[in-house]
């Protein structure tokens, strides 16, 4: 498929995360085993059961112009920061790509929650006339996609998948489809999230979904570990530039990896709880492998969704074991980044691509005592330190409340 329309490659990467202000610093911190998690010191958090968050390493206000920033919700700010890095690194703009053939697909799980809640405070305190005229464009869930589209001058369509914690991965899948259908020549894809605020924190905590290991912030996110007790909310964004391989090579672009296949399924089981055996997740992974024209034996690495919730991790372990098998090196990078919700799939795709490119799988932090669950025990989960390996293909899977399952298959360039 090297010269076909279906040959889609990744030519740009961008990120702003709890581990770093860009891709390079985030990757370095990940390999060094650093944690992005800390305990909230805000007054409001004092009585909260779950007080842990993975805040951005660098405030977006230091990365984008003040006047521009004040019209963007924080979720849009991080989207723009990550997207501009990916766009710059791809060199697409310098190569004279036709803006009419540039599309954007950028997802978010929650959207402009900080704006919605902040402006509601203003409404309550000062009345309707004091509500910002930018409230709606800042809170709308297509806001990050729209802000990114404007930032790079994309005129070939701007789309915003919203599938909770699968949104970032779903954006990548849509990007692949747009290129395969020849609806664009370049697609900037990714996900963004920034909703550290009392209400989302309280809502997730009421679901008993968050870790309450408040006294040990850096040890709290511990996917697949016996003592895991929930996820840690993170904020940030990640972005990828996708284009067809022949066009990328013709313009001399650096190709980081191929996006070989993708698939999505729905559990059809429960609005929130994952299917206990990961049935829908497994179908997504199997379908993505078929889409890529690969078999389970080809997959050397899986960047797992693994959020550190008791039920989610075991369900996913079963899905990976039953579809990919027991040979692949599995890692769960949320152990260090926290859970970036709608940005998670995009960030973990960046990690998957870097693992393929560098032939190095990052370790899962805090995995001291793997769960007794048979599927978890069966997997080869990388821990303690990154592991070198010969990798040709890798899977990144993402799941979201609502029963959304997305699997992506990347191969070496």
């Amino acid at each position: 498929m090297s010269t076909s329309i279906g040959d889609v490659v990744v030519t740009g990467l961008g990120a702003t995360t709890p581990l770093g202000s860009d891709v390079a610093s985030t990757w370095d911190a990940l390999l060094a085993g650093r944690s992005g998690v800390s305990r909230l010191t805000d007054e409001w958090a004092r009585d909260f059961p779950a007080q842990l968050v993975a805040r951005l390493a660098t405030e977006p206000s230091t990365q984008i112009d003040r006047v521009r920033a004040r019209r963007l919700d924080r979720s849009q700010q991080v989207a723009v920061v990550a997207a501009e890095e990916a766009w710059r690194h791809s060199g697409a703009a310098d190569a004279g790509v036709d803006p009419l053939r540039v599309a954007v697909v950028f997802g978010t799980g929650i959207g402009g929650a900080l704006t919605l809640l902040g402006q509601d405070d203003i409404l309550e305190e000062k009345g309707p006339k004091r509500v910002s005229p930018f409230t709606i464009p800042m809170l709308m869930p297509n806001g990050p996609a729209a802000a990114v589209g404007l930032a790079v001058g994309a005129k070939g369509g701007v789309h915003a998948p919203v599938s909770a914690c699968a949104s970032g991965a779903e954006a990548i899948r849509w990007g692949l489809d747009l290129l395969r259908l020849d609806r664009a020549d370049v697609v900037l894809v990714g996900g963004a999230e920034a909703c550290v605020h009392p209400l989302p924190m309280a809502g997730f905590a009421s679901m008993r979904a968050m870790s309450t290991r408040n006294d040990e912030p850096e040890r709290a996110s511990r996917p697949f570990d016996k003592a895991r007790d929930g996820f840690v909310l993170g904020e940030g964004a990640a972005a990828l530039v996708l284009e067809r391989g022949d066009a990328a090579r013709a313009r001399g672009a650096r190709v980081h990896a191929r996006l070989a296949g993708a698939a999505g399924t729905a559990d059809g089981y429960d609005l929130v709880a994952p299917h206990p055996e990961g049935e829908g997740a497994g179908r997504a992974i199997a379908a993505a492998l078929r889409d890529a024209g690969l078999t389970a034996a080809d997959i050397g690495h899986v960047n797992a969704h693994a959020t550190s919730t008791p039920v989610g991790d075991t369900a996913e372990a079963a899905a990976i074991r039953d579809t990919v098998g027991e040979h692949a090196l599995v890692t769960a990078t949320k152990s260090q980044t926290g859970h970036l919700l709608g940005a998670a799939g995009a960030l973990e795709s960046v990690f998957t691509i870097l693992a393929l490119r560098e032939q190095l799988v990052p370790a899962t932090a805090n995995l001291d005592d793997p769960d007794d669950d048979a599927a978890v025990q069966a997997l080869d989960i990388v821990r303690r330190e990154p592991r070198k390996a010969r990798l040709e293909a890798a899977v990144n899977d993402s799941f979201g409340f609502g029963g959304h399952n997305i699997a992506l298959v990347f191969t070496t360039a």
Binding site: D65, R66, V67, K129, R130, S132, P133, F134
Partner: protein, 83 residues
């Protein structure tokens, strides 16, 4: 041109324009059109009107706001309606 009596209005308006729209204070002169010269869009005009009310105690109704095209128009409106 601004008279000494409304010099404070021009200064105050320039501060608002810088905060809301990133206009350099030196560019906030009476003859400048908000949309043509200073790239201030309609939503930013709403924010400017709110800031004017806070700073000068002058509310600008929507039908009046539509007639304010230049920095000078805004200065005149504030001057006339200021208590």
């Amino acid at each position: 041109m601004s008279e000494p009596a409304n010099a404070d209005i021009q200064t105050g308006l320039a501060e608002i324009l810088e905060e809301v729209a990133g206009v350099a204070p030196a560019d906030a002169t009476p003859e400048k059109s908000f949309t043509e010269d200073l790239d201030v869009d309609s939503l930013s005009m709403v924010e400017i009107a709110t800031a004017v009310e806070d700073k000068f105690g002058v509310a600008i109704p929507d039908d009046e706001l539509a007639n304010i095209k230049t920095v000078g128009d805004a200065m005149d409106y504030i001057q006339k309606n200021r208590a």
